[in-house]
Amino acid sequence: MKISEDEVRYVAKLAHLELTSEEIKTFTSQLSSILEHMETLNEVSTVDIEPMTRIPDFGEPASLSTPVREDVPRPSIGTERALGNAPDPGEKYFRVPKVIADR
C-alpha cells in the first residue's frame, strides 16, 4: 500500500519525531515499498485463526506456563541512582521544560 507524505507527517507526530522534510520524502518512498511488500499477507486466509499471544503448546502445556512472583515490597534503586542518568536532575525530581506553551 502506498502511503502519502501527509500520512507520514501524521505518524511522525504520533511517534513524537520531528522529521526533516528530506526524511519525510525518504520515509514516504521507503515505507511505501515496505508496505507494498506486506500486501502478500492478504493471500493468507486467517478466518477463525487466533492471533498469537504466547508461545504455542508443542505437546507439553505445563512447560510453557510462567509463574507469577509474590507481590511483596522490595528495595528499589533509590532516588540518587534513579536521577543518576537524568539530563536535568532536580534535587529529588526530573526537571522538564514547560508543559504548556506561552502562545
Partner: protein
C-alpha cells in the same frame, strides 16, 4: 610462562590449565587485553572495555582454592552493549544512550560473573539491535575478519567478531530476528538463540518483547553449551523466563545421534539462495545422513510470509518499547527547546538514527487507528500459522535444518540504501523468533572467496539439548570448527 595465544583458548582448555596451575586468571586477562590492543584496531568489535572489573574478578578467581573455582572461572567473555554491567556504559549503539551508565547488572551479567567469567568489554551492535550488518551502529561499523571490506552481519556483529578473532572465548548477543545466528554464520562461529523464555532478559534493553532472547556465541558447540548452561533458567525479575529445569548441556553433548530425524524444508531452499550456500547445505545434509540421521522432507508453507509478519510485529513492539526514550529520565536531551512536547520531538529526532526512526514509524503506523486490524492483528494471526507449521513438522522430525543466511557476508554499504533488501537477509532466521523455538548456527565451510557459510538447526521449544547434540556430532564429523 610460555607465550599465550588467545585464539586457541576454549572453556575446557582454560579450565584444565587453571586447575593444573599452569596459568592464572590474571595472566589470561593480561593476555586477552594485549591481544585486544592489537586486533580490535582492525575490526572495531568493542564499544568499551571493563578492564578494572575483569582484573578484579581475575584476582578473586586466583585467590580461590583450585577445587572451589566455579565452572567458567577465568573465561574471558564479552557482552553486547544492550546488556547492563553496573558502573559501565550501555549505549545500545545509539547516540541517545551515548552517556548512559548502568546502575545494576543484567541477570546474565550476574550469572556469568558468579560462574567466574571475566567480562572484558561491551560489543558493537546495530542501533537498538535493529539491523543485519552492524552498519547501523551510530559509532562505527564492525568489520568482518574474513574480509574487512565486508560486514560481519548483525545486529550482534561485535560479539561475533570478538569471538571469531579470539578477543574473547565467548560472548552474549541478543536475537530478535536472527541477530545472533546470522552474524555467527557470516563470521564463521557458533551462535545460539535459545527458546523464548529460556534466558532471563532482566537488564537487556528491550526491542521486540515477544521476540527478544539472549544467547551465546563461541568457537565450538562445546563452549556455547557451557555458556548457555550458566545463563539459562528462571529469574523472578523476568516473568517471561521459564521455570523449567535447565539440563546439563555441556555434560550431555556426547550422545549417539543415530536415528535422529532431521527435517529439510526443501521448498525454502530455492529462490534467493546463493548457489554455493545451497551446495554446502546439501552437502551438510548428506553428511548428517552418513553419521546416522534420518532425513525427512518437511513443509513450512507459511514461512514465506515470515518477513512480512516480522517487519510488522517487531517494529510495532519497538515503537512501544522505545517510547521511553523521551529525554526526561536518562539519555540525551536536545538543548534549546521551549516546551515539553518540542523537547520530546527534538530529542528523538536527534538521538535516534535512520533505521530506528524508520522502524518507529513503521510500527507506529501498523498500530495506529484504522490500520491495527489490517497490519498488526493480521500479522499476529499469520504468526500463529507459522508456529503451527513447526508444531506439525515436529510431530515427525526432531530437528529442522536450513541455511542461516541466504548469502555469505555482503560488502559494507551494499544494502544500506535499500532497507527492504537488508530485511530480506533475515529470511531463514526470523521464523524461530516468531514461533519462539530455539535455533543454532554453526560453520559448514566457506565459499570460493573464503567467506564462511552457516548451517542452522531449529529445535522444539526447550529442547536446546537435542539441537546441541546434533550440532556437536556434526561439528565432530565435519571438522569445520574454526579452532
Amino acid at each position: 610462562m610460555a607465550q599465550l595465544n588467545p585464539t586457541t583458548f576454549s572453556v575446557s582448555s582454560l579450565r584444565k590449565a587453571l586447575s593444573r596451575g599452569e596459568i592464572s586468571a590474571r595472566e589470561i586477562s593480561a593476555a586477552i587485553y594485549e591481544h585486544v590492543d592489537r586486533v580490535d584496531a582492525k575490526y572495531h568489535a568493542f564499544l568499551s572495555f571493563s578492564r578494572k572489573r575483569a582484573e578484579e574478578q581475575a584476582a578473586r578467581i586466583d585467590s580461590l582454592p583450585r577445587e572451589q573455582r566455579p565452572p567458567l572461572a577465568g573465561i574471558p567473555v564479552a557482552l553486547k552493549d544492550n546488556m547492563l554491567l553496573a558502573g559501565y556504559p550501555a549505549t545500545c549503539g545509539s547516540q541517545i544512550l551515548a552517556n548512559y551508565i548502568s546502575h545494576y547488572d543484567a541477570t546474565v551479567t550476574r550469572k556469568l560473573e558468579a560462574a567466574g567469567a571475566l567480562i572484558i568489554g561491551k560489543t558493537n551492535l546495530d542501533e537498538f539491535a535493529m539491523g543485519s550488518s552492524t552498519e547501523n551502529s551510530s559509532f562505527f561499523p564492525t568489520l568482518n575478519p574474513n574480509a574487512p571490506d565486508r560486514v560481519p552481519g548483525g545486529s550482534s556483529g561485535g560479539s561475533a567478531v570478538a569471538v571469531a578473532t579470539g578477543m574473547v572465548v565467548g560472548a552474549l548477543g541478543s536475537d530478535t530476528g536472527g541477530s545472533i545466528r546470522q552474524p555467527a554464520a557470516l563470521t564463521g562461529v557458533v551462535g545460539l538463540k535459545p527458546t523464548y523464555g529460556r534466558v532471563s532478559r532482566f537488564g537487556l534493553i528491550a526491542f521486540g518483547s515477544s521476540l527478544d532472547q539472549i544467547g551465546p556465541f563461541g568457537r565450538s558447540v562445546g563452549d556455547v553449551a557451557e555458556l548457555l548452561h550458566v545463563i539459562a533458567g528462571h529469574d523472578s525479575n523476568d516473568s517471561t523466563s521459564s521455570p523449567l529445569p535447565v539440563p546439563n548441556f555441556p555434560g550431555a553433548l556426547e550422545r549417539d545421534i543415530k536415528g535422529l530425524v532431521v527435517g529439510v524444508p526443501w521448498d525454502l531452499l530455492g529462490e534467493g539462495l546463493e548457489v554455493e550456500v545451497k551446495e554446502h547445505i546439501t552437502e551438510a545434509i548428506r553428511l548428517l545422513e552418513r553419521i546416522g540421521c534420518r532425513i525427512e522432507p518437511v513443509e513450512l508453507p507459511h514461512s514465506r510470509y515470515a518477513i512480512d509478519v516480522y517487519y510488522i510485529v517487531a517494529p510495532a513492539e519497538a515503537s512501544s518499547n522505545l517510547a521511553r526514550f523521551d529525554g526526561v529520565r536518562y539519555g540525551f536531551r536536545s538543548p534549546n527547546v521551549h516546551t515539553l512536547s518540542e523537547m520530546y520531538r527534538q530529542t528523538r529526532e536527534r538521538g535516534f538514527g535512520p533505521e530506528v526512526k524508520r522502524r518507529i514509524m513503521l510500527g507506529t503506523y501498523a498500530l495506529s487507528a484504522g490500520y491495527y486490524d489490517a497490519y498488526y492483528l493480521k500479522a499476529q494471526k499469520v504468526r500463529t500459522l507459522i508456529a503451527r507449521d513447526f508444531q506439525e513438522a515436529f510431530k515427525k522430525v526432531d530437528v529442522v535444518v536450513c541455511p542461516t543466511s541466504p548469502t555469505t557476508a555482503f560488502k559494507l554499504g551494499e544494502k544500506t540504501e535499500d532497507p527492504l533488501s537488508m530485511y530480506l537477509s533475515d529470511v531463514f532466521t526470523i521464523t524461530a523468533n516468531l514461533a519462539g523455538i530455539p535455533g543454532i548456527s554453526l560453520p559448514c565451510g566457506k565459499d570460493q572467496r573464503g567467506l564462511p557459510i552457516g548451517i542452522q538447526f531449529l529445535g522444539q521449544p526447550f529442547d536446546e539439548l537435542k539441537m546441541l547434540q546434533l550440532s556437536h556430532a556434526y561439528e565432530q564429523a565435519g571438522g569445520f570448527g574454526i579452532a
